[in-house]
């Protein structure tokens, strides 16, 4: 089938198999590889993108379900001049990036979290990132990064 998905403001129209997953469409058809495949079982969140502004696990959405909708990936967060999104900047400042593989998903989930709750508590940040697993267990700096991006105090 033919699907047309607006990804980071540009419409990508491609013929795909009906069973194509959104994560494969984003990586292979759109060539945007910041979105990673970690567990492939809807657990780790490495594949998190925004679908119409809401975080979803793109390994568990069909490209067909996103047909006619808007997707934002990590590559779509920075400004026109290439300046970093506040969350990208905060992840860098707080060393929330760690292994890097999970970071794009962590940042996309954080964008969605702050959209609904601009001043979360540390516990709310932890709950908001519940769907993103990090095997190096370095959650502390990630929570600090989200606190930093929301203009709140970080814990050293």
């Amino acid at each position: 089938m033919k699907v047309s998905i607006e990804i980071n403001g540009t419409t990508v129209s491609e013929e795909v198999e009906d069973r194509t997953l959104l994560v494969h469409f984003v990586r292979e058809q759109a060539g945007l590889t910041a979105t990673n495949i970690g567990c492939d079982t809807t657990s780790c969140g490495a594949c998190t993108v925004l679908l119409d502004g809401e975080s979803v696990k793109s390994c568990t959405v069909l490209a067909a379900q996103a047909d006619g909708h808007a997707v934002t990936t990590l590559e779509g967060l920075h400004g026109d001049e290439g300046d970093l999104h506040p969350l990208q900047r905060a992840f860098r400042e707080e060393h929330g990036l760690q292994c890097g593989f999970c970071t794009p998903g962590m940042i996309m989930a954080s964008v969605s979290l702050l959209e609904g709750n601009p001043k979360p508590t540390r516990q709310e940040v932890r709950d908001g990132l519940e769907g993103n697993l990090c095997r190096c267990t370095g959650y502390h700096n990630i929570v600090n990064a989200v606190m930093n991006a929301s203009g709140q105090e970080v814990q050293r």
């Binding site: 069973r19 079982t41 969140g45 979803v56 568990t60 959405v61 379900q65 989930a109 969605s112």
Partner: protein, 271 residues
């Protein structure tokens, strides 16, 4: 992991979805949020030939107060329930239970209808709808029928819905002024419950203490006799048949049922 080949069809109305599944019977599957069905298809535990996407059916996405009942559209997402003002006022327990399903990404996609029809014994919303004495409304080729929650959950992943029926709405009595409690014990974040307990007024339902959500009848009977929370909770495991698993034995689950029931009853205002 990629699902086996299938044909994808998008439904633009309930009638169109019904016509598509009626034609294909067992070979077709409705796709709501996809948060249970797609993982199963990726693992090749399910391989339908036709997927009928009911995601666009926004007419089934609502929470409405209708007299002394709440009507919830089957396509209402967990995230919607979690933040719904009507629900917060008239059945806060349902919002609270929805907030505990999976993680934010899953709640943005998963629907109450999908959760009920999937009928996972470890799922939270089925127990909540059972505790609330809910009624499920399904539409099929021969019209509409109403199924009480107590008759809907027949076994693990087993309901009386025919492949050509579509769940449209869930109705629950308003809980105004009634106490409620919800406790869920998981091994890690975003996980299904090892055991869960939903208390709504004087109704108590258990998650994962058998092949279906169960009413804790012994607890309810004790409460009716005026028992304390601790006394009532002590019989929480009566009549249950939990799974025996290496990480959660029967004894462990029975213990959890008692402890969590007491906590949920206390939250519900039973002393």
């Amino acid at each position: 992991m990629i699902p086996a080949r299938f044909t994808y069809q998008r439904a633009s109305s309930v009638d169109e979805a019904l016509a598509a599944v009626a034609e294909h019977g067992d070979d077709a599957k409705l796709l709501a949020g996809g948060q249970s069905l797609l993982p199963l298809m990726k693992l090749r535990f399910a391989a339908p030939e036709l997927i009928v996407d009911i995601g666009p059916l926004d007419e089934l996405r609502y929470v409405r107060l209708d007299g002394d009942e709440l009507a919830v559209g089957a396509m209402t997402r967990h995230h919607d329930l979690q933040h719904d003002a009507v629900l917060a006022e008239h059945a806060p327990v349902l919002a609270q239970v929805a907030a505990s399903v999976g993680d934010p990404q899953i709640r943005h996609r998963g629907t109450i209808g999908g959760s009920l029809v999937h009928a996972d014994p470890a799922a939270d919303l089925p127990a909540a709808v059972l505790a609330l004495d809910g009624t499920l409304i399904a539409r099929g080729p021969s019209g509409e029928r109403r199924i009480p929650a107590a008759e809907f959950f027949q076994g693990p992943f087993e309901t009386p819905l025919a492949p050509e029926e579509l769940l449209t709405e869930i109705r629950v009595p308003v809980q105004d002024g009634l106490g409620w409690g919800f406790e869920k014990f998981t091994r890690r974040a975003l996980d299904w419950a090892i055991v869960g307990v939903v208390v709504a007024g004087r109704s108590v339902a258990l998650v994962n203490m058998g092949g279906t959500p169960l009413r804790a009848s012994a607890v309810e009977a004790a409460l009716a006799r005026g028992a304390s929370a601790a006394e009532a909770a002590s019989v929480a495991a009566e009549g249950t048949s939990p799974a025996d698993e290496p990480h959660a034995t029967v004894e462990y689950r029975e213990h959890l049922a008692r402890v969590l029931t007491e906590r949920a009853l206390v939250s519900a205002g039973v002393s």
